[in-house]
């Protein structure tokens, strides 16, 4: 702990004294990012910052000079002037000139950022409590669709009572604590990608600092924005709009690949989707369903219903011992999971998960924590849709 405080104090002093010389400049200032937009925004930010610094030096300089020289203890005698129209006009005009000179580049950047025309591909982003859904709707990879949630080992480490502190988190996750997801969104470099943003429940906001912008994802509305990433790499971000309990735990990971690598990724995804669709038609063994179901449950259900199925009543009901999770007729539970419960936090998972995933998760719930409900096959989900 002492060394942590020492490091904090060190960061403070070095940060303030030698800010620009620090290797960790990224921790003090806005990131430059990896798109032309993010570069423009960064330059705009630096310009305004310096304008403010210069004005600050002039104003505070005059003030500090007055405080040092014009004090009673130095024998200063108060002058009695109390107005000067000339001065008033000068310090109204000068700020206006400065503001106009700031507004011009800001307007240019803004117009460029809002121009979503001529996109090479389109990805629809849907915010959900508390994960993201990505649908590739247009361009190479059209038809790919998946959910992206906080990676499971992070999800366990971030629970109250997990006993984690900074040292343990650094050791276990390095720099990526709370910044990893199970399925990152993969995009090609050099292509203009249009994002359509919406949400299924409450307002979220999709933000990857390296791309230079954030945009709200609003239920019932579709926003748009765009990016063109020049450099392959992994770019991380977070939900930026308070969206409930686990707002802090729905990161975004964008993986930018070269066009060739991207094409390979698309092929792998399409193959996997076909295999998944085929497997929905076969009869699954109970053990396979349970094993898959546990994974699906942990990623999608446990945030509210808890790993132990006890929920957090009344907002998030218990699944353990709940009549809906027991008995021979699973239809009640299937409909709830597929369509959600309007007016509550229970979302409709039908559009989000595959038949196999849903069957597995429901089977897992119906045979865990003392529940003794019947198992559910993917075919039943397919029929119930």
């Amino acid at each position: 702990m002492k060394s942590r405080i020492a490091r904090g104090v060190l960061a403070l002093t070095t940060g303030l004294l030698a800010g620009s010389a620090l290797a960790e400049w990224d921790l003090l200032n806005m990131r430059k990012g990896v798109t032309s937009t993010s570069h423009e925004v960064h330059d705009l930010h630096m310009m305004i910052l310096w304008v403010c610094v210069v004005i600050g030096i002039v104003v505070f300089g005059a003030m500090i000079y007055a405080m040092l020289k014009h004090r009673k203890s130095k024998g200063a005698v108060a002058a009695q002037f109390h107005e000067s129209t000339t001065m008033e006009i000068i310090w109204t005009i000068i700020p206006i000139v400065i503001l106009v000179s700031m507004a011009i580049p800001a307007t240019k950047t803004l117009l460029a950022m809002e121009d979503v025309s001529d996109a090479d591909m389109t990805i629809k982003v849907t915010g959900l409590q508390w994960k993201w859904k990505y649908d590739y709707v247009d361009g190479e990879g059209a038809g790919i669709s998946f959910l992206s949630s906080l990676a499971p080992e992070h999800n366990e480490a971030r629970l109250l009572g997990a006993g984690m502190d900074e040292a343990k988190l650094r050791e276990k996750f390095g720099q990526t604590y709370l910044r990893d997801v199970d399925n990152p969104v993969v995009v090609p470099t050099g292509k203009k990608i249009r994002f359509l943003l919406t949400a299924a429940d409450v307002i979220h906001s999709w933000w990857v600092p390296d791309l230079g912008w954030k945009k709200d994802a609003i239920p019932g509305f579709v926003n748009e924005s765009w990016t063109r990433i020049d450099k392959p790499g992994v770019y991380r971000g977070k939900c930026a709009e308070l969206c409930g309990k686990d707002h802090g735990f729905m990161p975004i990971v964008v993986v930018a690949k070269s066009p060739a690598d991207y094409a390979a990724w698309v092929q792998a995804q399409t193959g996997a989707a076909a295999a998944e669709a085929a497997s929905a038609d076969k009869i699954w063994a109970a053990d396979d369903l349970l094993a898959k179901g546990e994974q699906v449950y942990k990623t999608n259900c446990a945030a509210c219903h808890q790993l132990t199925g006890t929920g957090v009543p009344p907002a998030f009901p218990a699944l353990a011992g709940n009549p809906i999770s027991n008995g021979d007729d699973p239809m009640g539970q299937i409909t709830t999971v597929l369509n959600g419960r309007p007016g509550t936090a229970m979302a409709a998972y039908g559009p989000m998960l595959s038949d196999v995933e849903l069957a597995a998760a429901i089977t897992y719930v119906r045979s865990s924590w003392g529940n003794s409900g019947s198992a559910v096959q993917p075919a039943e989900i397919k029929a119930a849709r």
């Binding site: 305004i48 200063a76 803004l110 502190d165 954030k214």
Partner: protein, 526 residues
């Protein structure tokens, strides 16, 4: 007529009633002012305790102390208490104490309404705090109450809405009282353009309150019917629009920001000339600047919503309008600096807080200007940069002005001098720690840390720890303030009527402490 006056003269020498009933039934502007200030202080400490919970959880990464839902309710209720429970009532308390004494009136114009507008507040905030003990817990959707999230709140939701209604009614009544008092009860010769700036800024603030509080009441009532009466004002599935709530909310919310800072401008404009021993520079431009800021506050609201997906022309309009605010605000800062220039300054505690205000409020103004630039705001929005910005203008702005005002007028109110040494210690500890607390939050926001999160990635660890340490020291140092006020109320060196060598204004012509009914005979202002 003469007899009536004579009877009245017999009557007005009586003191206050004894015991608790004095405070419950009082219609005296000083008693009510005291109640407001005491209430604000209590709320400041409750809201401050919540801030301590927030900083304790954020002391290091990982979840150690509270669960995320409770953390969210801490940030939400901290903001509601500090805005509606601490800063606004504190300014109303100052208005009650000072406006009659500054314009030469015996009391506020509407004393019974004055009593009522105060006594609603304890009920409003009891309702709000009681939600913590209800199923589903306290409000956790942010103080901005954005639907659909705010509608997910549990049983406490209607209590939250009614608490806001009550606080709003209280503010509206307080504002009517201020306007009626200032427009009708000024002493002969006290023209509007001779009024102290505190009266001017409060007059304008009162109009802002009357214009915007009903808008907030309407917005939260629509939330209530969306939740319980099946309406769909803000539900897209029913033909409504969640973004419409944000427009309505910020149409209230941005003028609200100036409601929280205009009276502070008035306070600083009283203190700086006193300790510079030199008249305020540019009095009339101060008045016009205040009025310009108030006007602009009604046409900039959507700069809080640059990321919701507005048409680009809308974004441009709100960006330009917001940048314009820098002009009248700059005029104010330049005027204060010019007032200090070639003065004969001393630095007693009120002046220290006033100087601290000018510097740190200006820093908050700079970050505000940066946030006004829409394309850059796409990066800053909803990060700790914003948290740093509004705490610089509200803590080292509004709250510093309230503390400056307390130290400045406390000797007048109580007849006793406060402990100067303790006051200076309070100032220096507060000022060092508040910068440790909020300055690093600029870095956190720029580096990518969103606001309203209970846990964060390890690269944000160092600055969060610095910020938390600053927060704990700042929180603890406010106990010095409470103790100093308590000590001064109990006794101390007797204050003269004028208190400060450079003080100027009608309140300094009264005795310290002033008589129960301030000016029983209207003074004549030349």
């Amino acid at each position: 007529m003469t007899t009536a006056t004579a009877t009245h003269d017999d009557h007005h020498d009586h003191g206050p009633a004894k015991g608790l009933m004095r405070w419950i039934t009082t219609t005296n502007h000083k008693d009510i002012g005291t109640l407001y200030l005491l209430f604000a202080l209590i709320m400041f400490f409750i809201g401050g305790a919540m801030a301590m919970v927030i900083r304790a959880e954020l002391f290091q990464p990982g979840m150690q102390i509270v669960d995320p839902q409770f953390f969210n309710s801490m940030t939400t209720v901290h903001a509601l208490l500090m805005i509606f429970g601490a800063v606004m009532p504190a300014f109303t308390g100052l208005a009650n104490w000072l406006i009659p004494m500054q314009i030469g009136a015996p009391d506020m114009a509407l004393p019974r309404m004055n009593n009522f507008s105060f006594w609603i507040l304890p009920f409003a905030f009891t309702l709000l705090l009681s939600t913590f003990f209800m199923s589903g817990g306290g409000p956790a959707g942010g103080w901005t109450l954005y639907p659909p999230l705010s509608l997910q709140m549990g049983d406490g939701f209607p209590f939250l809405i009614f608490a806001i209604h009550l606080a709003g009614i209280s503010s509206i009544m307080g504002s009517i009282n201020v306007i009626v008092t200032i427009l009708n009860m000024r002493a002969p010769g006290m023209t509007l353009m001779k009024m102290p700036l505190f009266c001017w800024t409060w007059l304008i603030t009162a109009y802002l309150l009357i214009a915007t509080m009903p808008v907030l009441a309407g917005a939260v009532t629509m939330l209530l019917t969306d939740k319980f009466a099946g309406t769909s004002f803000f539900n897209a599935a029913g033909g409504g629009d969640p973004v419409m709530f944000q427009h309505i909310f910020w149409f209230f919310g941005h003028p609200e920001v100036y409601i929280l800072i205009l009276p502070a401008f008035g306070i600083i404009s009283a203190i700086v000339p006193t300790f510079a021993r030199k008249p305020l520079f540019g009095y009339s431009s101060m008045v016009y600047a205040t009025a310009s800021i108030a006007f602009l506050s009604f046409i900039v609201w959507a700069h809080h919503m640059f990321t919701v997906g507005m048409p680009v022309t809308g974004e441009l309009f709100f960006m330009y309008a917001t940048m314009m605010i820098a002009v009248p605000t700059g005029v104010k800062v330049f005027n204060w600096v010019s007032t200090m220039w070639k003065g004969s300054m001393t630095f007693e505690t009120p002046m220290l807080f006033a100087v601290g205000f000018i510097m740190m409020f200006t820093i908050g103004g700079f970050s505000g200007l940066m946030l006004a630039i829409a394309p850059a705001d796409f990066q800053y929005h909803d990060t700790y940069f914003v948290v740093a910005h509004f705490h610089y203008v509200l803590v080292t702005g509004a709250i510093y002005s309230i503390m400056a005002a307390t130290y400045y007028w406390l000797p007048k109110w109580t007849g006793n001098m406060y402990d100067e040494r303790l006051g200076k210690i309070h100032f220096w500890i507060s000022t060092i720690s508040v910068n440790l607390l909020f300055f690093p939050q600029h870095f956190l926001g720029l580096a990518g840390m969103p606001r309203r999160i209970p846990d964060y990635s390890v690269q944000f660890a160092d600055w969060n720890m610095v910020s938390s340490i600053g927060g704990f020291i700042f929180g603890a140092s406010q106990l010095l303030f409470a103790y100093n006020v308590y000590k001064t109320v109990k006794g101390g060196k007797k204050a003269t009527d004028k208190v400060w060598e450079g003080a100027d204004g009608l309140e300094w012509t009264l005795s310290s402490p002033p008589p129960y009914h301030s000016f029983t005979e209207a003074p004549v202002v030349k």
